[in-house]
Symmetry: D2
Subunit: 336 residues, 4 copies
């Protein structure tokens, strides 16, 4: 099958990552890159063999069959809708939007006949989480009883990002909401969120928190705990444990390498990765492969606008619970 | 220093464990055992070289300097007060009482001048938890930010025990409340408890739960998660992770042995212990050594009535939070 | 820098692996494939975007700057010399030859001015071994005292391969000889090899062995143990431990994934990979990157004909030791 | 069953360890201690509730039913024979003798009717090795093909001990010879030993070595590797891996505790124990329990003079192989 010609909008950090994966894939051919900063688009184009063009030209080009949207979050929805209107398949970095009502209102524009929108929740493509889900689905530990999701980042983001991040729950916990729903194949009926600014007081001054512990109850009664931290100091500490009626499955942390040093003070193992590009390298490649499957007509997008909306509504609920200091009841369907 | 002559009241499961440790200790000499079932006391006496006597006789014997109280929970407080009145030092299995108000009312009887009451919270003597606390206190991970306590038992207790257990929070989570307070050297200002009966519906029919997830906030702002399960199916899954400003410390599970089998399906490590006597063998021996230190006059009891009351008040708060479906505010001092 | 146009000779298992890596690399452009079986070359060409041509045409094409030699072992040397004569840089699967004297005699043809021959010992590019070497070189464990190399394959090769393999030492242990020399940056003065056919008697009937334990002494006095097995039944069990004056470094096995299952019989970790393409995926990509560095003029081949000869001479010595049942003395330089 | 009255000869390091275990055992009653240094015997007696007496008096005392021989190695055989003549059961620290011919000549004195001599090879009582043997015997990995024994001590012994140690093979490797024979339930037909003084040149000046790598072949064809080091710097690195036709069993190292510290430089696990009393605490207690079983008449000694002689003959063969630089052939029966 010949490679699909695709374009990229957004030549920032995530755009560069997806461009590099596209450039080394035999299944897609990255032909064009748009960015409001044309020089940045050109530079990334040089590195990946693509041409810098503006987004309107790209959408008008009949040879381009798909678009990767990795622009700033506030532009996602607009970029995606434009691409859908132009008949392009879409690979969109999460989230589609930071505002649930806006996203809900846009559903008719996103779910037009033939629209193919893949919202890239990278955790779903992590090989370790996938193996956990496979074994759980195979019945290896019986029925689910409780679920723990530990999601701790290596280091706090640039403070400049905090105000436009949407807050901890929408920017960060949103991964865990999607992971929990995906792993359990279930919705949630109750949520309690405790949060605090324990790491960097400047985050608190900006009205956000950097640490949270959440307890959720799923429709089928599974109790879930989510633990969030913006900074470990020791790399990506992100793992999942699912306790079932017949045992437990743990998708553990991934060390940088398997070298250990045995010395007077004990045995030292390698640190966890500090870079998301390293920690989730396989997940990002698998995302692109999945998108190529969609383009081939062999798969439907694993996650679409409604998954994004569901996770966003959970994030809103978490914010509400945290602000009110009380659990909140949820519609298990996520209001969908 | 000659061995201290001590006696035991309660020849059940815990009494037998402490009797065996006493019998193999050079620091104490187990001379007498009381039990409402005299035959049981005699049998345990045969195994440990002690004489079966009634509790009144034991307390009246000036040669006996201390008593281990391992009778049924409902008798603990009465047995302890009688021993204190008789001038004996006391080693009491937790809890002193299942009712916080009763215990609070009894404090004057328990805290008479010269009274020495050690309430045996075994986790405090687990060498792994002690090492975690030692390293935390030494500053190895900076200041505490969050704490996770996983406390999952191998198997549900006999259903007959459930009604007299005091309920999950008082019987089981109480260990975690004490562990959290001890590790952090801090009290708690807020608690939210979610619980469910997920393992055995018969426990639910008896009005109790078998699974719980709690979120606590300490006076100094540390966020704590406690996870409880009455049954793993794979042994004692009980560990603690303390996240600090400069790293994390984990006191991990203890395997039964270090043998691994490498086979077609992967690498199999040994199961965790299924028996508390095996899992906490060193902790129980260390408890007795600590008590011998108290008898030698070289230590004060590491935990006393007020620790027991504090944990009990947290258990009451958990029950309230669970019943009300809302967080409850706490006095950090535990009302002490 | 524009991608280097390269060709491949040999469209078998290793050829296909290198072709796939080349096809997904932005640094090289695989343009042609030769194989005595033209249909096979065409098929692989279809999958990787290359054209099937005969080897003479390829060597005559001035646009082709380099050749990957992955033909059958017996053709390696001839293919390499032809490529060198044609002025092409060469990436050659190990070994250059199965006969040390033949290889020694060919050195003048291989070491002509400007010749660039990279003999691909994949272990040198394994990220875990490289990290071990980096840390050893950084002095993390002091000076080397002893070295253990465990090299156990998942499954015996096809019996048809055994007669043309060169025997266990030349086909299999040769990796370990190169690894030991590379890690220690040292030659060897003595070698003792014990071997046996313990796994499959048919291998013995073919005059070969399937298991071996070797002890070597290096010029600087380091004692090395090499353990070989043709079949574990549980995947690639290949790791290295280097004991130094100040601790030890271990490059441990690499599990297929980080999922563990906790069940009644214990904790099950994922198996080690069964496929060399999976176990050494990063190493093969790194080999190609190194070769691209050579083509860029930024590196000299990490391993060349003399490394291949040195390893081959050690393999000959091992065969001799095994046949004679006695240690053999070696020239530390490997006779180079 | 009443406790057996036993005595100890030798109040040094090993004597003190056995005395402490005896003092805390309900199955034996340590009543007397002999030592050429009477003050040392008295001191240990104070600590363990035993009386210092000379060895002749002890042997003449009909109340004493057994003797633990932990005197200096050169006195072992004489002390044991005297005890056997006095009708006492004997628990003897390994080795019975450093000279194989002397020991062989003494067999008639040691194997008189009714003689009960337990030679304490502590490794056989290590719970991890026992579990490995149990699983191997249960067929968990099929038939044995190869065996690796890693035996590295934390630190070199006092240099004063070296001349009277009997040399590395008799003092240290002897454990591994016994372990190999016990695990495989097999004798050996060939042995090659390479050794060197790599750690402390003073050991070499005393005519001994501090590092060795041995390859043995068992009667049934199992290839064994033994790795010895007098000093790791990081504690007891002593483990065993048995490779079978259907998988492998590893009895891994035992960490001091299960606490890990996750920090910037990686994950640090606890060191291995530095003290043999800690590393083999359970083994030493199990030895004493086994001896109590022997005294009860419920067991025969697990290891006796012939096991000691077999290991000693292997040590002699290793010395010969090392000195000659060549493998040596062995009688599989160990000459017994």
């Amino acid at each position: 099958m010949p490679a699909h010609k695709i374009a990229l909008v957004g030549a920032g950090r995530m755009g560069a990552l997806h461009a590099a994966n596209a450039a080394s894939s035999a299944r897609v051919d990255l032909v064009a890159i748009a960015d409001h900063d044309m020089a940045r688009a050109q530079q990334l184009g040089l590195e990946t063999g693509a041409i810098a063009r503006n987004y309107e030209q790209i959408l008008a080009d009949p040879d381009v069959s798909a678009v990767i949207v990795a622009s700033s979050t506030s532009s996602h929805l607009e970029n995606v809708i434009a691409a859908v209107r132009a008949g392009k398949a879409v690979f969109c970095e999460k989230p589609l939007s930071l505002d649930a009502d806006t996203l809900a209102a846009a559903l008719p524009d996103l779910e037009t006949p033939g629209a193919r929108i893949f919202v890239a929740f990278n955790r779903r493509f992590d090989p370790h989480l996938r193996e956990l889900k496979r074994r759980f689905s195979a019945g290896d530990v019986g029925s689910a009883e409780t679920l723990h999701i530990i999601n701790h980042d290596p280091a706090t983001p640039d403070l400049g990002f905090i105000p436009r991040s949407g807050g901890l729950f929408k920017d960060f916990t949103i991964h865990d909401f999607d992971t929990a729903a995906w792993l359990l194949d279930d919705g949630f009926v109750e949520l309690f969120a405790a949060g605090a600014c324990l790491i960097d007081p400047k985050i608190g001054e900006l009205g956000d928190i950097d640490s949270a512990k959440l307890v959720l109850k799923s429709s089928r009664g599974v109790l879930c705990v989510i633990s969030n931290s913006r900074r470990t100091g020791y790399g990506y500490d992100q793992w999942v444990e699912l306790f079932g009626s017949n045992g437990a499955l743990r998708a553990d942390n991934v060390p940088s390498n398997e070298v250990r040093c045995l010395g007077e003070g004990g045995t030292g193992s390698a640190p966890f990765p500090y870079s998301f590009a390293e920690r989730y390298a396989e997940a990002y490649r698998a995302e692109l492969n999945h998108f190529a499957d969609v383009l081939d007509g062999n798969a439907s997008p694993a996650t679409g606008p409604r998954d994004s909306l569901r996770a966003l509504r959970l994030a809103d609920a978490a914010e509400r619970s945290f602000r009110q200091g009380a659990p909140v009841a949820l519609e298990p369907s996520g209001g969908l």
